[in-house]
């Protein structure tokens, strides 16, 4: 049985592709060809989990989008994996009408309502193919798992549930209601897939509380409905591991805006910040010297997949960038030695031809050759991965040098840690060499949120400087309003313990051999510190009493009577937590939580923390949302 959320989702998908029969050993059974039809939600869910080759192995010959032109293939069964939206249902009806496939297996990503089911039924009756519809399933897979311990809800349609959508001035109640329903539906899918009922904690008086209430209600209804509950056998199953139930911490983005705008220094988060990592795939524009008659530099776009089975990525995604550069170098060296061995073998084979002892040596060498050839695909794969990471790292380094991201990172960490700055903010803003206008705005917002309090006159002064540096200051007006509204007086103290230290000359010398000329980029090492979200999670898991956590609400969907007292009944610490950010999240928080869980586990208290967010927003996108908010008001 799969343990992580990602593995469970893969298992569920494979079962679906196997016509909803539990998968057995694929080789011993007769293959069944089928066509997979999905909409864009289905595509987002499947694409980070299964490659085309895996789909082929499952017998999927064609994978097509629901809304694309599709030719009829009369003698194949088709598996549909779509959202139950009106649009999709109409299209399925058209498919029935034009008799595209032999049989239809309809799988809906989230539960289909009775009314829509009837619509499909009537469409099937009209085109006379009721008997061709062989299965109708609700899959409850309405989320995208990107890592073993990370999931997000939407990718393509994510603007509808972003921070902007939640906080814009003229938002209607129905819109908010709709967003909440979407989020709750997805979270419900997550816990159905996990097969456990969580204990929910959330802060009072914001979007997270609404989500918590709705989710509590939904889980409660499902548990009470004994006939079709997903959780009846919950106890038996959970009992095999522990008697523990997971904790679901629902947090609102307003808890911590600074992290979203922070410049970061770890590999994965940098890729997301600089190159906009999307669904575990990163696009990099490389300038390639081409031999066109014009002699110009052609921008070539390259795409790299960063899959969890990539061991290097798995090991290094949380490391600070200089460490990654070193690791790439080490990896490259070990690959070179392997390649050298292969070459040596080749040379040995060539010489040995005329030798007397050739015959006796031959058998020995062919055995070696066989093993080499069988290890060749592995070697090729490794080469591909190393190339990929070399390219990404080089591109990252270029960006870091161009925008002086290391300086920003250091300054922001100092601001968050309330230590003295080397360089005044004004200097950085006025320095034209230093970063893009957006970087400057991000820096100033963080200074405003976490730095020492500023008077209005000071802020106006900075505003003038920022405008002088071509910055769009509309985001700032929103932040000022937001700050006045929330009166987050305690905010600065939340980041206590941050800061970095520059590793001295010694390690710089070590780096000189590296192919990535790190000169001019400070070798920064992150000191461990917890972001606000992590601190809240820590307090809730360990049942510590912390001032901001004390008034968190408590929901236990398993209890018969819902009590609104909000007093936690469970006094033992939790071992498993699901942290969910309403209104967008990013890789910095994810990395921070992963580090926290690792530290705790090393200290002898096993912890498992899974991070989820309504959508993954990079700092640039988030700043755009803030700008829109600022310019609207």
């Amino acid at each position: 049985m799969a343990s992580s959320l990602r593995e469970k989702q893969i298992l569920a998908l494979k079962r679906m592709l196997n016509f909803n029969v539990p998968a057995t050993k694929a080789t011993t059974t007769e293959p069944q060809w089928k066509v997979l039809v999905y909409d864009r939600f289905g595509q987002d869910i499947i694409s980070p989990l299964l490659t085309v080759k895996e789909l082929r192995d499952m017998g999927v010959t064609l994978h097509l989008k629901l809304h694309s032109e599709r030719d009829p293939i009369p003698d194949v069964p088709a598996i549909y994996f779509v959202m139950p939206t009106d649009d999709n249902i109409r299209r399925i009806g058209q498919d029935f009408q034009s008799q595209l496939y032999e049989t239809y297996y309809l799988n809906f990503i989230s539960a289909i309502s009775r009314q829509r089911l009837e619509e499909i039924a009537s469409a099937a009756i009209h085109s006379n193919c009721v008997s061709q519809v062989s299965k109708v399933f609700d899959q409850y897979l309405n989320f995208i798992s990107l890592e073993d311990d990370m999931f997000t809800l939407r990718h393509q349609d994510r603007d509808s549930i972003s921070y902007y959508a939640l906080n814009k001035g003229d938002v209607k109640d129905t819109e908010i209601e709709h967003i909440m329903d979407t989020v709750v539906d997805s979270l419900f899918s997550v816990f159905v897939t996990l097969g456990t009922v969580p204990i929910i904690r959330c802060p009072r008086g914001n979007a997270a509380e609404m989500v918590a209430e709705k989710l509590d209600k939904k889980l409660r209804e499902n548990i009470r409905d004994a006939r079709s509950s997903f959780f009846t056998s919950d106890n038996i199953q959970a009992g095999q591991f522990s008697f523990q139930r997971p904790l679901l911490v629902l947090l609102d983005r307003n808890l911590d805006l600074a992290t979203m705008l922070h410049h970061t220094w770890t590999y994965q988060a940098l890729s997301h910040d600089v190159f906009d990592l999307q669904l575990n795939r990163v696009d990099i524009e490389e300038s390639v010297e081409s031999r066109t008659p014009a002699g110009g530099v052609v921008k070539k776009k390259k795409t790299y997949d960063l899959q969890p089975f990539d061991k290097f990525w798995q090991a290094q995604k949380g490391s600070p960038f200089p460490a990654v550069a070193e690791a790439v170098q080490v990896e490259l060296d070990s690959y070179r030695t392997q390649e050298g061995e292969v070459k040596k073998l080749k040379a040995a084979m060539g010489i040995e031809g005329e030798d007397e002892s050739a015959i006796s040596m031959l058998s020995d060498h062919t055995a070696k050759l066989t093993s080499t050839v069988s290890s060749l695909p592995e070697l090729l794969e490794r080469k591909r991965l190393i190339d990929q990471h070399t390219n990404i790292a080089t591109a990252l380094l270029e960006q870091i040098k161009a925008r002086k991201l290391d300086v920003y990172f250091e300054t922001e960490e100092k601001l968050m840690g309330k230590s003295v700055l080397d360089q005044s903010l004004m200097d950085m803003i006025n320095d034209h060499e230093c970063g893009t206008p957006q970087d400057k705005v991000r820096l100033f917002i963080i200074a405003l949120l976490c730095g020492p309090p500023m008077s209005d006159a000071e802020i106006d002064q900075y505003l003038i400087a920022l405008t002088g540096a071509n910055c769009d200051t509309s985001a700032l007006s929103y932040i000022r309003k937001w700050k006045a509204y929330t009166k987050m007086t305690a905010a600065p103290s939340q980041y206590a313990g941050g800061g970095t230290k520059t590793v001295g000359m010694f390690s710089k010398l070590m780096n000189q051999g590296s192919q990535f000329l790190m000169e001019g980029v400070k070798n920064l090492v992150i000191k461990k510190h917890n972001l606000p979200a992590t601190r809240v999670v820590d307090a809730l898991m360990d049942m510590k009493s912390l001032q901001d956590v004390d008034d968190f609400r408590y929901f236990d969907p398993k209890l018969l009577r819902s009590d609104s007292s909000g007093i936690p009944r469970n006094k033992s610490p939790f071992q498993e937590a699901y942290v969910f950010m309403v209104g967008g999240g990013n890789y910095i928080e994810y990395q921070n939580l992963v580090d926290y869980a690792k530290n705790k586990s090393n200290a002898g208290a096993p912890r498992k923390v899974v991070y989820g967010c309504s959508d993954l927003t990079s700092a640039t996108q988030f700043l755009k949302q803030l700008e829109r908010l600022g310019s609207e008001n």
């Binding site: 293939i73 609700d138 959780f231």
Partner: protein
């Protein structure tokens, strides 16, 4: 046998996932449980809804009569199905052979069965290869719509790759078998005075039996020339040893030849493997959304083109309006002042 194999597999799976030592029984039940939990079967609900709607519409009887007849399956699908079934059967046979070949015991060896199975599987693989080629022919002979074409293509490719993995497995099994045979031989040699060698020397001694008897007779006949006889015998034995040595040498040569032969076969295998590898490299990395990005890019390009056109059209329109305005102005001026 297969059942037992599967059980061990499932056992190892469950162990991998952190559940310590479970029987297959609980594992299976768990899988079923899992199925029930994370998705919901609403087929019955769908059918009841359909029935309800049908009766409400009142043309239920008519629809029932025109129950869609099972469409005639195309030739292609039938062949593909048959090949798939045959492949599965051959796989089962191969599994059986693997079980047999992996046995290391000296006494429980079933050479006849193995030989037979090997032969059958060999035949099967060749037959399947032919069938797949035929299937390809069928797929090519019917010019079809784009999607049907790519569907049949990928069916053929996946069948081929399955066959390739199977023949690879088969080869490996045979290698294991040869390895085992070698082991058995060395062990037998160790414990039972090298049976092959003894037969060999017996055989060689048969050739020289005559002479042996002769010489023995000679020793029995004349006692006087013991010295000479001894010498003669000595010489004879030397000769025999020489022949023996020669035989050993020839045997060695034969062994080496065999080795070389097998090496060459192995090399051939390597080359086919290489060819296969090159082909496979293409598919491994693709994800389902890879081509959509291109589509998005094209759509965006088209959009920007349309925008450009729109802009040019609007600017033209403004120009026209301006010109007309000027013309009308002049016309009015002309009419008012000139007329």
């Amino acid at each position: 046998m297969i059942a037992r194999r599967r059980r061990t597999n499932s056992g190892s799976d469950s162990k991998q996932n952190g559940i310590s030592s479970q029987t297959s029984q609980t594992f299976v039940s768990e899988v079923l449980l899992d199925t029930d939990m994370s998705c919901r079967d609403r087929t019955n609900e769908f059918f009841s809804a359909a029935k309800l709607l049908q009766s409400r519409q009142g043309n239920g009887a008519l629809a029932q009569k025109r129950n869609p007849a099972l469409r005639q399956r195309s030739e292609f699908t039938q062949i593909a199905k048959k090949i798939g079934r045959d492949l599965a059967n051959t796989f089962a046979k191969l599994e059986k052979l693997t079980m047999l070949a992996k046995k290391k015991s000296l006494f429980d060896d079933k050479p006849v069965e193995i030989q037979e199975l090997t032969y059958i599987i060999n035949q099967d693989i060749q037959g399947l290869n032919k069938q797949i080629a035929q299937l390809q022919q069928v797929a090519r002979s019917h010019p079809n719509a784009r999607h049907v074409q790519s569907h049949s293509n990928s069916v053929v490719v996946s069948l081929q790759s399955k066959l390739a993995t199977m023949s690879n497995d088969f080869k490996q099994v045979l290698e294991v078998r040869t390895e085992n045979l070698k082991h058995q031989k060395t062990r037998r040699d160790q414990f039972s005075e090298s049976p092959s060698n003894t037969t060999y020397s017996n055989h060689s001694s048969v050739l020289f039996q005559d002479e042996m008897n002769h010489s023995q007779g000679a020793t029995g006949g004349a006692d006087v020339v013991i010295n000479m006889d001894g010498l003669d015998k000595n010489r004879f034995q030397q000769q025999m040893q020489l022949v023996d040595q020669q035989d050993d040498y020839i045997q060695d040569r034969a062994d080496t030849m065999k080795n070389i032969e097998s090496t060459i076969v192995e090399l051939g295998g390597i080359f086919t493997q290489l060819a296969h590898m090159v082909k496979e490299q293409e598919e491994i990395v693709h994800r389902i959304d890879s081509n959509t990005d291109d589509a998005v890019m094209n759509v965006e390009a088209a959009h920007s083109e349309i925008l450009k056109y729109f802009q040019s059209v609007t600017s033209n329109r403004w120009l026209m309006i301006k010109i007309f305005a000027v013309l009308i102005l002049f016309f009015i001026i002309f009419v008012v002042f000139m007329a």
